[in-house]
Symmetry: C2
Subunit: 111 residues, 2 copies
DNA sequence: TACAATATGTCCATTTCTAGACATATTACA
DNA sequence: TGTAATATGTCTAGAAATGGACATATTGTA
């Protein structure tokens, strides 16, 4: 019952801002869906469903936040994604909002 | 519609972490549902539905994150909520997670 | 008198999301 | 040979969230 609240928040953040998580990961280093899943597992101990990841990657590309290139390596076809300038803008906007939120709530505590 | 991405993030955060938003507001200053709605409007330019706020406040109290006191002022019955130690713990956990997330993603960029 | 604002609450149809199954193909390894 | 791992994709039943209506009571104001 008393589940670790921190772990729950990690799950909530990654579930609700999965698009941002993906964009940040491919911003750090271009990668493909399967690797995003593995990376998230090792970084955050969160298992992403591939049934959620692949459609989302296609959506992000269709909306211009990412672009992909098919790369065949040892018979494995990978769709390697990289972030676009529009995607970078989105991630930056997200960071700005987080900062603003924290600032506003700090001011409140002072008042 | 010039879909301002920052405004959209504010909405997403406040929608998905409404419980945390409320706890932070009542941590800064004890208040009641109606005031939370007005405060959020002025602080974040986000309109919260009272149909979402009131049941959530009751849930937060039932789960021990907040406690309330009925105060009648000029014929207006207000349920003034304040945060509990358990609620403070939850907000702290949320902050820690946010910090950790940012740290991990900074490391990635260096790698 | 009537309408806006303050204040709290429930209910429900629609929409959206989630978990997980179904589907396919190659490589690595015991 | 068979199973695990790599790799990408679709589909859907059930769960959850959303918007907004319904409901009630008081105060302030035009």
């Amino acid at each position: 019952m008393t589940e670790d609240p921190k772990k729950q928040f990690v799950q909530r953040i990654n579930r609700n801002f999965l698009d941002i998580l993906i964009l940040r990961l491919i911003q750090a280093e271009p990668m493909w869906g399967y690797k995003i899943i593995k990376k998230t597992e090792s970084l955050f101990e969160i298992k992403l469903r591939h049934g959620a990841i692949y459609p989302l990657l296609n959506t992000l590309e269709a909306e211009g936040y990412a672009r992909s290139e098919k790369i065949t390596k040892k018979g494995r076809v990978r769709k390697v994604y990289e972030i676009t300038p529009k995607g970078i803008q989105l991630v930056d906007a997200y960071h700005e909002v987080l900062k603003e939120q924290l600032e506003k709530l700090d001011l409140q505590k002072e008042a």
